[in-house]
Symmetry: C2
Subunit: 463 residues, 2 copies
């Protein structure tokens, strides 16, 4: 009890400091959000990295900018001394901003309205990156030198598949040695209740292209000439049925049945179908309306989505042409045994078997999934941090439906991964009007500080 009170006292100081300085944290977040860092268009990557480096230097980190092959700069920083060592992985790149006309505010003006910060990257993932930096800097300022080691590893290529991370993990092995990886990705619900997860799906982002003609042709010829657009559409619709089940030959044999333990880990109250129905205008979910079954699909089944498709004349008005080529980008979200390479091989064979040898495949992004179910001890610490900062029981999810480079970051040392972020369910991640709530951001700084404290000095907190 004595140590508990002591812990409370130093953390109460920490919490109060965070509250008193919340305006400053928001300002620093805004500076970061005002730097566009769209990796897809390679806009503003260096200036964003430089800004983050300055913050890391200010807080006393040993900082290295590392490039690996043709990579954008990785930012690596260390502060404090362990054991234990906590590795904060995050990324400073963001998704493109299109469609621009659907934004209510400039995507890089980082305006605050009614307690929300609007910007591309606010939720994915500069809000959580900034919260982690703020938590560590404030911890040192308020509580003193860190009795544990913090490693920051920030990349600029997450949104395009972290394609240099595997090589970095091979060439800079010591950077990845730690006791826990903290990945700043996750959401809170409308009442500020946090979701914390311990794994993520893999992804294969694949371009399918059909270019069967030498040039566009007058569309009157469609009576006798097959079109690459039709061929691409038949190829695509052969990959999935209308109920959303992937029909690529042989793929289902690589999807493990959901275990009883995993099913038990899914808590129906953690998924509110009506909330998402309302948020996105969804009329019917695929497969089921049962929360547990929907979560099972989200976490343990692969999915196939068309991110973009284009052929022919796509401006306004009319143009009567048979386009000479058509292409689509699809992303498959993958479960553990289903690697991106395996998926591409299955897809190639499937298309060839159906006579679609003329549909070319290009694997543009490949991320294996990763998962590490935490110990009861870990869960207890996270629960305590959540109760103290969000005043709410956390929801623990075995997986998140999204993807990230945790396999390359964590697999070499089999690190437990803890995913928590300051986004919320209405953050419009990857979409127009991306936003986070200022309150979540501030509470998130407190939560991260408390997690550091509990994982970094377990004895002090008496767990």
């Amino acid at each position: 009890m004595n140590s508990k009170r002591e812990a409370d006292k130093h953390m109460q100081q920490f919490y109060r400091y965070v509250e008193d300085h919340s305006a400053g944290y928001v300002q620093e977040l805004q500076s970061l959000l005002r730097e566009p860092s769209i990796i897809t268009n390679t806009i503003g990557m260096t200036s964003t990295a430089t800004l983050i480096e300055q913050i890391m230097l200010r807080m006393g980190c040993q900082v290295r900018q590392i490039t690996c092959g043709d990579s954008k700069p990785y930012l690596y920083g260390e502060v404090g001394s362990g054991p234990p060592t906590i590795l904060f992985y995050n990324h400073y790149d963001v998704q493109p901003v299109e469609p621009l006309n659907e934004w209510d505010f400039g995507p890089f003006s980082a305006e605050v309205h009614d307690g929300y910060v609007y910007a591309r990257g606010a939720a994915d993932n500069k809000g959580s990156l900034s919260a982690a930096l703020a938590a560590v800097e404030t911890y040192r300022k308020v509580i003193g030198d860190l009795p544990f080691r913090v490693k920051f590893l920030f990349e600029g290529e997450e949104e395009v598949g972290s394609y240099n991370m595997e090589r970095l993990a091979q060439t800079e092995k010591e950077l990845f040695q730690a006791d826990l990886c903290f990945w700043g990705s996750g959401v809170l619900d409308n009442s500020g209740h946090p979701y914390i997860s311990f794994g993520l799906k893999g992804m294969a982002y694949i371009e399918l292209r059909c270019s069967t003609l030498r040039s566009d042709i007058h569309s009157a010829m469609a009576a006798i000439v097959d079109s690459p657009v039709w061929r691409l559409l038949y190829a695509l619709t052969s990959l999935r049925d209308a109920r959303g089940t992937i029909t690529i030959d042989g793929l289902d044999t690589h999807v493990r049945p959901v275990s009883a333990e995993d099913r038990d880990r899914l808590v129906p109250s953690d998924f509110d179908p009506d909330y998402f129905r309302d948020l996105f205008g969804i009329k019917e979910f695929l497969h089921s309306n049962d929360p547990r079954e929907l979560m099972e699909r989200l976490f343990f089944h692969p999915s196939l989505n068309i991110c973009g498709i284009r052929a022919g004349y796509t401006k306004g008005g009319t143009k009567t042409i048979m386009p000479r080529e058509a292409w689509a980008n699809v992303d498959l979200r993958l479960v553990p045994d289903l690697t991106p390479e395996l998926v591409v091989n299955l897809l190639r064979t499937h298309l060839d078997t159906l006579g679609f040898g003329d549909v070319e495949l290009l694997l543009k992004c490949a991320i294996p999934g990763y998962r590490h179910q935490p110990s009861a001890d870990h869960l207890a610490r996270i629960r305590q941090a959540s109760l103290e900062t969000f005043h709410s029981e956390p929801s623990f999810l075995p997986m998140m439906a999204a993807s990230g480079p945790m396999y390359h970051v964590c697999a070499p040392n089999r690190l437990p991964v803890l995913s928590f972020g300051v986004a919320h369910q209405g953050s419009h991640i990857h979409a127009p009007n991306e936003n986070i709530r200022v309150h979540d951001f501030i509470q998130g700084i407190k939560f991260i500080g408390r997690v550091l404290d509990l994982f970094g000095c377990p004895n002090r907190s008496g767990i």
Copy 2:
């Protein structure tokens, strides 16, 4: 024989004049081609109309610029006095120029290389429009006052479906009174052998749009949320089978079987599959490799083509999003009993029946087909003109596979329609590097002059 020799003499003068002044005709064509007149983007319509009006005034026409509703200006001109009266229908608008990077020359620089003029609109349809003006002007200059009446009717909305033509035909009935309509559309083959046709297919240009979501969603949700892109793809692939046969419920009952007479009108040597295979890189034709069967499909069967399709992120790089909407523009080429309105109704019912009530339809362009099989007498005159100018037997096609507003132009007075144009099979109509051969253009002026002479003064030519 006497009258024949006399005819020869005045036409020989005409032919010689055309040859001697060919450079001037090409220059005037180039001026016309250098005026962009892209109706889809409403670029340069007025200046193009003004240039044509000036040419018509110069050659002694009574000219009217007519607008009808919100139409671009119609140019109507009369010269000579009949009977008979020959109505030249043509259009001065052109298709968009995208994809621009696939042009070898600027689409509006109208450069001449190795006997070809390259420009958007060269083949469709300013080459033939210019040839008709040149033929009439030269006929008056060389042979004298016209003993027949020529009417010119040029519109600026053909490429978007001539949507004001029906109203013009109702409000300006007298403009359409004539004995023959000459529509400047058609091709020559590689040896300069002309194809002349007597009807065209209808067209329905329809947008299909599926917008089932309120906003784009992170693509991880594809495991449980159906996507408007997938829905559009399933809807589209329900409309046609992989062999190109339209499968819209009930549509086939409105397609008349090909009559024995029509089948007999198809001459296998008029369609060279290998030529098109090579030109466009076509590996296999749909349905058949037999020339007669391919022509039968082209002229007497409906077709369904996707002119453009778009959803989601279509720039370079990757973006993992489920798009909130998807759309496609399709064009159906129609046979006589299949009106655009009927097609839209059948399509709506088909989609509703299959549960695609959320796929919205917009009929963006509706053109009924038209056909008028000419008399043997007419065919004989055209044959004579072809022999004299192209030194080649013409090919007579009962139909063309393309579409145009001939129904509205010709149906009120049941005009015979004769389609001849100075394009060739490699003209890349609607596509990059659109071109015509200078030789075809010059011979075309002679041919049109001779057709005028034979139809306008049948007795003089002794037919």
